[in-house]
Structure formats: C-alpha cells, structure tokens
C-alpha cells in the first residue's frame, strides 16, 4: 500500500517533466471573482491545444502541446505563486496569461520578467500594461487595451446621437480603467458625462445607485462583469425604468445576460467587444471550430484565448527547439506580415510552411493580432445588440 502511494506521488510529480511534450503554463482565474467568465476561456485554450495535437503536434517528432493550468484567482498573490511553480517546477516554455490585469502585471514583474519568460495575456486590458516594460520584450496580449475600446465606445455613443450619459462602473481593475478612458473620450468629443460613480461589485441591490444616476440622465454607460453585479445592476435599472439606453463594454457581453434578464427587456442595449470582422474567413473558421466544440464563440475574451493559445504554439514551433529566450521574437514573426496567412485551426498548414522555412502570418479569431512595439494589438471592435433573442454583432467602422 505504502509503495503504491509513493509511486503514485512520484508519478504525479514527474508526469509533467519527462514526457516528450511542449508545455505552456496557463494561469487562469478559475476561482476568485469571475469564474463564470473564465470557464469558456479555458475551454477555448483547450480547444486550441486539441487542434494542434490533432494535426501533427509540435516539431518534427509530433510532440504533444500541453497546457498546464493553474489557478491565478484574479489575485496577485495566487498568480505569483502559480507562475513561480509553472516556470520553476513545470519548466514551461511560456506563460499564457492570467486573466485579470492586476494578476498579470504582478506575475510578470515578480516572476516571469526576471526569469526571462514571455507572457501572452488573453484578457488583461489595462492601459498600464502597455508601458510596464523596461527594455525587455516579454509582454504581449491578444486583447486590445481599454485605451482603444473606451474611445470606440465613446464614439459609438455619439454616433447614436447620445449627447449626455451617466456612467456606472464596478470598482475593479478592469472596469475602473475602461470607465476612465470612456468618460475622458466622451467628454473630449463633445458629450456630457452627467454622473460618474463607482459601485461595489456583487452587491445584492443597486437600486439606490441606479436611482441617483437615473435622475441625471436617461442613458447609462455600464461597466461591470455580468458575473459580479452587472446583471443585478441592469435588472434594477430596468425594474425602476430609470434608463432608456444602455451602453457597455465586453464584460457584460454574454448569453447569460439574455438568459437572465430576457431578450424582450433588452431593446436598447448595446455592448462593444473587440472582434474581428465577422465577414472575414478568420472569424468564420473560428466560429465553425467553436460551434463544433460547444464553446460560445463571441463571449468576452473567448476568441482572444483561442488566438493566444494557438499563437504560442506557432511561436514555439517557429523557434524549432522549444527555447524560452526566442519565443518573444518568434511570436512577433508568426503574427505579422509578410507571410502566408494562417487562420484559426490551420495548424497542419502552418507547420508545413514553418518546416520548409517559410513565413506565416496568423490572422486571429479576435482580430488580425499584429503586435505593436508594446506587445499590444489594435483590434477592431464590434457592437452587439439583441436581435431575435440573441446577440447580433456588427463591426464598428
């Protein structure tokens, strides 16, 4: 009995290190404040790995592309601990980003920058990430900075003829950042922000907040996660009838919102999200893959997660020898022109081109994913509103 336990324990500790495989560390906020947002993102990461492994795996030997998941809990403490283990114990080749901006910055500055490991974040959108590096080139993300989305949303509001708006944002790192960008951009473009208040996430009631804001304007810009108070706030607002029009960003864009609030109540609701042109072949390829796997294709950051996992595989394939130090340069090379265009899921094609020494250019599910000098993507944005009981997205030109 004792021996069984011992061998089992040994097998557990070794199983990650010895097999012929390429591993990538994937700290996700599985626990913490937004587990519901993260679950489909994790599925999308797994789907990318499954696609890679089904089409020949990594390198000439067909090694398996393994995602080692850890819990970053949206929490700097947990993220630093998780990434320390991933880098040192599991010897991963790169980090496929923690979800929240705070956790992403903390793990980067505390662990992965000093260790020289590349981070590709799937959803950290804080503007602070653009400027955090100091001479290194290790931080990338597939989600556009809030600095872009906030401006896009402000322009959308003005284009809809809204000249005055009340802003309510959940007091967390993501929503506070995008609300600040939105308010500044909206005011700068000639609109009036009638009130701008933080609210504490996940409260049982937001009726008084809604009433106070509703007294100032008929339009509400709502920045919240649907999973931590966003739905409650919106329901309270609809019940009191304080607002006619709702605008918001991708934290609120989920089928869950329609399921809970009801499509019939959501006539004047528009949420933006970073997206690729849904008329492009890249999005069609992703939508087909996601549908096959039963993953909500346009939920917040889900396509970004797929892109990130797929691009890291491409980058590591490009390095040819699974070397941490060259992942960063390879990531830039596979994601931008020149090169043969690769769409989501086209692993075999990309692998063949790379093996022949050719160039590729990945065009992602969530945008063309060309990194600028800060490792940011510009990203296009789409606006979604409810049509026939489901979200319908159109690109913002």
């Amino acid at each position: 009995m004792k021996r069984t336990i011992f061998t089992t324990a040994a097998a557990m500790l070794c199983s990650t290190a010895v097999m012929a495989e390429v591993s990538v560390g994937n700290p996700m906020a599985l626990t913490g404040p937004i587990p519901d947002l993260v679950a489909p993102m994790a599925q999308a990461v797994d789907l990318a790995a499954a696609n890679v492994n089904a089409q020949g795996g990594m390198f000439a030997g067909g090694e398996s592309y393994k995602i080692i998941r850890a819990d970053s809990a949206c929490d700097p403490v947990a993220a630093v601990d998780a990434v320390t283990k991933l880098i040192n114990v599991n010897s991963v080749s790169a980090i496929l980003g923690p979800v929240c901006s705070g956790a992403t910055i903390a793990q980067a500055e505390s662990v992965s920058f000093p260790a020289g490991v590349t981070t590709l974040s799937v959803s950290a959108s804080s503007p602070a990430i653009s400027t955090m590096e100091d001479g290194t080139d290790l931080m990338f993300r597939t989600a556009a900075s809030d600095a872009y989305q906030g401006v896009a949303l402000a322009n959308l509001a003005l284009a809809q003829g809204i000249t005055e708006i009340a802003v309510s944002y959940a007091n967390d790192d993501y929503n506070a950042a995008i609300a600040a960008v939105f308010s500044a951009a909206f005011a700068a473009a000639g609109g009036t922000v009638t009130a701008n208040e933080a609210h504490e996430p996940s409260k049982a009631s937001y009726r008084s907040e809604v009433a106070t804001l509703g007294a100032t304007s008929d339009n509400l810009a709502l920045f919240a996660y649907y999973g931590s108070g966003g739905i409650t706030l919106m329901r309270n607002a609809l019940e009191t009838g304080a607002f006619d029009t709702f605008l918001g960003a991708d934290g609120m864009l989920s089928d869950e919102v329609i399921a809970q609030i009801g499509a019939e109540n959501m006539g004047n609701v528009t949420f933006t999200t970073s997206a690729s042109d849904s008329t492009t072949p890249a999005f069609a390829a992703w939508a087909a893959l996601a549908e096959g796997a039963g993953i909500p294709a346009s939920d917040p950051f889900v396509p970004n997660s797929y892109d990130a996992a797929f691009m890291l595989a491409l980058a590591i394939e490009k390095t040819g020898d699974d070397n941490r130090a060259s992942v960063s340069a390879a990531l830039r090379s596979i994601s931008s022109a020149p090169g043969e265009v690769i769409l989501p899921g086209e692993w075999a094609k990309a692998k063949a081109i790379l093996a022949a020494g050719g160039d590729i250019n990945y065009e992602g599910a969530a945008g063309n994913q060309d990194f600028d000098e800060n490792g940011d993507v510009a990203g296009l944005f789409s606006q979604s509103s409810v049509v026939d009981g489901a979200w319908s997205a159109t690109l913002i030109k």
Partner: protein, 316 residues
Amino acid sequence: MWNSFGFEFINFYFIPGLVLGCIYALGAIGITLTFSILRFANFAHGETMMTGAYLTWTVMAICSGVLGFAVHPLVAAVPATLLVVLLFLVTDRYFYKPFRQADTIKVVMASFGMMLIIRSAVQVIWGPNQLTFVPGIAKPNAYLKDWSGSIDFLLLIPNKHLFIFVGTIAFMMALSYLLNKTRIGKAMRAVSDSPDLAHVTGINVDQVIRATWIVGGACAMAAGVFLAMDIQMLETTMGFRMLLPMFAAAILGGIGKPYGAVLGGLVIGLAEELSAYPWIGDGPLLSPGYKTGVAFAIMVVMLIVRPQGLFKGRSF
C-alpha cells in the same frame, strides 16, 4: 403631499432599503441566537443561507425538469429547509460540539473553517457559475400600482418584494410565538440569559442548543431564499457578502435580542440604500463605492459607543 421628491425617495430608496433590511434581519436572528446561546460568532451563517438558496434551486429544478411542473420558490424552500437544518445539526455535532467547554476562539475558528468547507463544497458540486433563479425582470404589481396611483400615492412594488415583506412578518410572528409562548422558547431565552442558572433549574441545555440550530437554520434559509428571490440568481459568494452586515445588525440590536436583530437589520438595510441618496446637492451623499462600508462603520461605532446594542442585549 406626494411630489416627485417623495415618490422617488419612497420607491427607489426606502422600499429597496426595507427589502434589504428584511433579508439582513432574518439572517441576523440566527446570528444573535447562536451568539447568545452557544456563545460564539458563527462565521458560517452566510454560507448556510447560500446553501439554502442552492438547495431550493435544486428542488425547483428537479420539480420542473423531472416531475414536469414548476413550483414557487417558497414552496420549494420547505423541503430544502429540512436539509439545511440537518446540515446545521450535523456540523454542530461534529465540528462545534467538541469545543463546547473550550475557549471561544476555538469554536470561532471552527466556524471559519466550516465557512470555507461549505462554500468550497457548493462550488465543487454546483460549480462557480451563476445560476438563474428566476429569469426576466420583475414589474411592479399592477393592482397596487393602479390603486395607489388612484389615491395619488404611487407605489411601485414588484410581487417578489411583497412576498419578502409578508414572509418576514409571518416569520417574525411565528418566532415571537415560539419564544414567548412555548416551553422550548422560554428555555432558549433562559439559557441565553444565564446558561448556568438555566442548567441548575433543570433545563436540558442540549435540547435548547438543537432548537437554536433549528430556529437559526430556518431563519437563515428564509433569508437565503428571499435574497435569491430578490436578486433572481445564485452565486456562491452571496452569503458571505451578507455576513458582515448581518453581524452589524445583530450587534446593533443587541446580542441575544431577536427583535433587536430585526430592527438592526432594517436600520442597516435602510442606511446602505439611503447613503446613496442625494441629500445634499445632486450627487450621492456618499460615493456608492463606499456603500459596503456603511454597515461596517455603523457596527464599529455601535461597538464603541454602546456595545450592548439598542435593545440592551448582552455585552461581553
């Protein structure tokens, strides 16, 4: 006179405050009883509320999914209450009873541990995602709206809130009967006042403790279901977020005083909602970001100024 000022104040601040207050009040009753009879602050109380709401949801899901008919949450809550009370009794037997004679700290730590165990168990079983309790939005009760509109006193109260008000009042009356008229209720009050004296007079303390868990469990259950009815969804941290305001309510009312707990709950609920009212100027009096702090601040001030609470409860 019913001007637009009063209309907004009553419908958008005062009534929501009362709803929240009712939920706090029911939760605080359980806390205050445990505090005075078992002599410890039960940190797992919020988790019990949450578990109760999840069990109710499960009963509803089974009814509509397997048996093919939909039931009202308040009906589904009845079988769920039995499970919650059972959970309470089992935790007491295995996790609190061993510490009956030990330091308070031990049993408080044990309840802290229970809080983690219960919450993680719910997260593992039902998953961390939100569950829809009742979809859609609740429109104000049409009859009440017409009637109150006709007497120029427009009230916008959805049915779910009427259920919560009526349910809370019914619960209070039942509790009042239990504590004042029944033998076990009187025994509970005696143990709360002085356990040693009660023991000497031949009261079965173990029985009283069981009764406390049953009454506390039923109240926690009601609070959890009312909370779920109000926010129309379930999430695993919903109980914990209510815990500190409920402590505040129990302390405000005076430990060991169920009516005090109810008053405390209503005061805390109203204070939270009214803190965002534009008393001065157009902006909220206190930034809604500080809303959570209102209950804590009341609690701390109360502990310092008048630790025995409004109703002259026990102070240690």
